[in-house]
Structures are given as structure tokens and as C-alpha cells.
Amino acid sequence: MKTRDLSELAVRNLREAVLRNSLTTLGVAVGVASLVAMLSLGVGLQALASQRLTRSGLFDAVFVTSQRNFRGPGRPPSAESKPKQNSRILDEDVRQQLSKLSNVTEVYPQIRFVTDVRYAGKTESTAVLGLPDSSRSSGAFDGITGAFFSSPSAEEAILQIDFAKVLAEQPASLVGKELILRYAERAALSKNADDEDLLDSMMGSGKPGGISIVPREKKLRVVGVIESDPSAGIGGFGGARVYLPLKTAEQLHVAQPDDLQAFLSGNSAKPAYMALTVRVRSPKDVLQVETAIKELGFATFSLLDATKGLRLVFTVFDLFLGLFGSLALTVASLGIINTLVMAILERRREIGILKALGATNLDVGSLFFAEAGVMGLFGGLFGVALGWLIGRALSWGTTIYLHSQNLPGVKITYVPWWLAFGAIVFATAVSLGAGLYPAARAARLNPVEALRYE
């Protein structure tokens, strides 16, 4: 029999026992829905974690330091990490050079310093960090009280809530207020006739001019207060409590520990950076960029290995969710077997008639097989829709709960196209598998006995 005729007959047969076949199809749909809902939860959580981590800038960034000063936190210097005498200093030239590497999207310095902050007559010492404008989308500022910096060079500050509590009892009341930053400005000194002899005697002839450290004050308007620490955990550079726009921080020319080293190596005219953060196009570019930077003679650090570990955890998580989801589908496939075996009993005479009219065993078997396939296909389609709805309900419920806890809502489930397509194919395949036995049994029926059946 032609496939089209076979399909028409299969659909027609299914329509005849519409209640029973609908219930069986619904069983498949529920099985597929549980599978889709569970896997969509796994995929959604993985996507959420990846999104958060990617937005945090941890996984698409390479942290670059001069080989003179890079050492892991709390680790003694090893033979390999021993400072190299001829290694290069991180200055503006190096920043420009790194920004020209392929797949690099942004290079910005690590400007972090400890200074005094004055507000309402109180003076508190704390760490200040310059944030690039790309931090706006890092997710760390999602729950901010107030707003992110109005421009990349605004004279504004964002406070971490613990520090804000030190300055005022109601941290939110600080938004819109001004505070004063006291810091040490670094300025280059060029040689002049008066000092030339003195400098030459100190530094040796041929060395450039010295540097001066000048105390300064800067008024900044508080625009936001945040709960989290956007810089925490990045190669041990975190822990700042006051954040400024990076350009504003750069314009302050705050004296950095490496300035003394730059001065001694004769590069005092140019600012030296403690570290540079190199952002790459995507996490998969990290390795290539890291290698290129190392070849230029700098020390690097990235969280590439941590990403691999995370993927492994989620793969195992998905595997277990998939197994639990498949259990429901297995139960549903037993329902298909039951329905089709019952149909064989009811349609014995019909099978006999078909055989008397010239249907082969294959024709009869294919008809039952096709009916199982149609139930699987429709069960798969309904199941994916139902699974998607369950996923939406889960995300919705989670968001309501998070809002009740004053936290931003999240989407914890996600049904990618491959999951939807795969679930439909899987449901159809399982149903066809379940239809094998009934189909074979129907095909084997003796036509004379089948015709005798009332």
C-alpha cells in the first residue's frame, strides 16, 4: 500500500476511537511534557548561569599583568613565576598594542586605589575602582538603587551597600548626594636647568625627569548603591567599595604602586598600570588571545578552566533530568502498546477483511505501526507545547517568589529548537517502538480465524 493511503487509513482509524486514542496520545504528551519541562529547566539554568557569568565579564576576559608583579593570591613566588628583570611595564603603549590583537574588543586598565572619602563630616578610608562603561551590562547593577553612571566620564560614584551603611544609616538616601574623594595625584617632572644637576646626581645622567605626588580632592555625586561587588573574585582584584567611571578614574592620575618601578626604569612620563583587562569577542577566543599576550611577554590569568568544569556539571545535571523525564515517556509507551493490542482484538474482523482483499502482512503491520507513529507524533507536538507551558509556569512562579524576596525575576527554563525537535522525534520513535509488537501480532493473524471473529 502507498504511504499516503496508509497514512490516511491510519488517521481515519484513530479518529474512529477518538476518546481512547486521544487519551493514549495525551499520555504520550504528558510524558514528552515532563521530559521537555525537565530538560528545559536544565538548559534554562545552564543558560542563566552562562549568561550571568558571561555578563560578569569573568569568562570573556584575560587579565594581564607585568611579569614583574604577577603572582597568584597567597602563593609564594616559584622559580617559574620569579620576576623577570627585563619584562615590560603595562603602559599606554602596551594597552594600544593589546587592543589591536585579533578578537579583542576592549582593553582597559585596572585602576584601583585606597583613599579617603569624606561625607557629612565623616572621613572613611576605602578602596576605589574604576569601571569601564561595558560594566553597565554585566548584570551586577541589575538591582541597583539609583542608576548607573550617566556617561563614561561623569563625575559620579556608585557605592557598595556595606560602605554606604558606614556613611549613612539609610544607604538609599545617599543617592544624589555629593562626597569628596581625597587622593594622591601622580605628575611627571621634566628636567629643568635648576634641578638638572641634582637629578643627574641622583638618577645618573641620561635618565628622564622624576615624578611628583600631589594631594588632591574631587567632588563626586553618588548616583547609585549596589548590594553586590561587581569586581569580586577577578584574579583577586576585588573588594572595592566605591566605583567611578573608568575615564574619570584615569583622569585623576592617581599614583599607582607601579609608578615607582616605571620611574626607576626611566618611563616616568607615561602612566603605568597594575593590570589590564582584555575583553575578547567570546569565551572561545580566550585561549588564542591569552597565548598571543603571553608571547608579548606578559603574565595572564583567565577563568577558562572554570567554564569547562561548569559545562561538565550541567551536562551531568541534564543527563539525570533527561532520564527522569524519559521514565514518564516509557510509561506512556506502555499505554500505546495497550491501546493497540486492544485495537487488534476489536479489529480482528477488519484485519481478516483486509487480508481477504489482498493486504499483505506488511500492509496490516504497517497500518498499526503508522497508527502508533501518528499517536507519537501528535503526542510529541502536544507534549512540547505542554512542556513549554510548564516551563513558562515554573519561570513565572520563580519570578513571583524572587520579587517577594526583593530580587529581580529570572527565566529559569528555556526550550531551544533542538530540544523541541528532538522531543518530537524521540516521542515518535518511542511510539513506533511500542507499536512494533502490536503491529507484528496483527500482521500474523490468520485471515480465516480473523474473519470468523464476531
Partner: protein, 233 residues
């Protein structure tokens, strides 16, 4: 009778059934030769083995001994697919209880053998219409079997049996579920079709008057054995 005109030949055909320890011989060494264009009635009382013999000649069952040759092919030696092909291409069947599929319309029932034979959709429509017109049911094509009388259902079954243009028609008690008037009408129709198409008909019946009236040869079976075989007219 010449070899050229022989259409079907049953040679010492037996069919045994096993019921526990008991072996029941439903057909016992029956030999029968059927010529092309004959209308034969297999007559006998209930349990005489006539329907079993018909099933074997129609390719629905296999003999446990002997041979049934149709156009020199032994049905007993054919594989399941070849036997199905024989039923599809050579045989038409009419049953006592009509055996129309209740959920299909008359038209769809008649179309079923053509679907199985993978006949082109356009040809199917033409041939179904032609078969229904031949049995006088052209106007009832969209009706379901439950909406037809017994006689109409049997005429529909006859249209289904004829739609594949079979060389031989097997009718198993075709009047058994009909009143005598309708039964006669059906057999008249059968006779007309045989006359116009020249097909061979083998009919099982237990009603001697009908057999004598319509068949041109009667083979009498009793306890699985062929007890007489004679030409009527």
C-alpha cells in the same frame, strides 16, 4: 475438459485441525477441477467442509495435504506475499455477512482493494463509480453500510469484489443473511455479471433450490468429502 480451459484444479486436498489431542479433518482428499467461466455451487450441510475448501481455493488458508493449482501455480507452495497478491489480483470475495467496514462509506469500501493494489487515485475513482453503477448503487456511494439494507450491502460487497476485475469470484453463502427474494436478486445479478464478464464463480451454499436455479454445476460435500459432482444444464 481440456487443459487449456481448466482454471483451477484441487488435487486430493485435505485440511486438518488439531483440537488438543483430537485431529479434525474438515476437508478430506477432495479433488475438483474448475473450468474458466463456470458457475459452480459447493453444496452441503453445515460442517460439511465447503467453506474450508472455498477458503483454501481463495488463498485464505492452506491445505495440510494435496495441491490447489490456479493457472498451473500451486497455492500451497506460494509464500505469504504471493498468496496475498493472488487474492488481490485474481480473486474477488463475497461473504455471508457482507463484511463491509462499518466506519467507511460504500465508496471507500469498494475502493479498498484498489488502494491495496496501489492503483492510481484517478483510476480508482473511475473504477469505483463503474463497479457501483454495475450493481445499481451509484446513488448510495456516500452512505455507510449501516444506512443500507441487507441486499444493498451485499450488492456493495459484490461491487468491492468486482472492482479489481478478478478472474474468479468466491461467494461464501452470499444469500445466507438475506430474505429469499433479495437472495434471488443477488444471485441474478451474479449470473448477469458472470455472463457479461465471463468470470468463474464458485459459490458455497446450503440452499439446494438456489444452487439448482443459478449454478451450472453442483459439487456436493458431506463430512469433508466430495460425494457428487455434476453438470446441471
Amino acid at each position: 475438459m481440456t487443459t487449456a480451459t481448466i482454471f483451477l484444479e484441487a488435487e486430493s486436498v485435505s485440511r486438518e485441525y488439531r483440537l488438543g489431542e483430537t485431529i479434525i479433518r474438515a476437508v478430506d482428499a477432495v479433488s475438483l477441477t474448475v473450468e474458466k467461466g463456470e458457475f459452480i455451487a459447493l453444496l452441503g450441510s453445515s460442517g460439511s467442509g465447503k467453506s474450508t475448501l472455498l477458503s483454501m481455493m481463495a488463498g485464505l488458508d492452506r491445505p495440510t495435504a494435496g495441491a490447489i493449482r490456479v493457472r498451473e501455480r500451486n497455492l500451497a507452495e506460494l509464500g505469504a506475499n504471493d498468496l496475498a497478491r493472488y487474492r488481490r489480483e485474481t480473486v474477488g470475495m463475497v461473504f455471508q455477512s457482507f463484511n463491509l467496514l462499518p466506519r467507511m462509506t460504500l465508496e471507500e469500501n469498494v475502493e479498498l482493494p484498489l488502494r491495496l493494489a496501489e492503483v492510481d487515485r484517478h483510476d480508482r475513482t473511475l473504477r469505483v463509480g463503474e463497479a457501483l453503477e454495475r450493481v445499481g448503487l451509484g446513488a448510495r456511494r456516500r452512505h455507510r453500510p449501516s444506512e443500507l439494507s441487507g441486499g444493498e450491502q451485499q450488492r456493495g460487497a459484490l461491487a468491492r469484489a468486482l472492482v479489481n476485475r478478478p478472474a474468479i469470484l468466491f461467494a461464501d453463502e452470499p444469500t445466507g443473511n438475506l430474505d429469499s427474494v433479495t437472495g434471488e436478486q443477488i444471485l441474478l445479478l451474479l449470473g448477469e455479471i458472470q455472463a457479461s464478464l465471463g468470470m468463474t464463480i464458485i459459490m458455497v451454499t446450503h440452499e439446494r433450490p438456489l444452487a439448482e436455479k443459478f449454478a451450472n454445476r453442483i459439487a456436493l460435500l458431506s463430512d469433508g468429502r466430495l460425494v457428487s459432482d455434476g453438470v446441471q444444464r
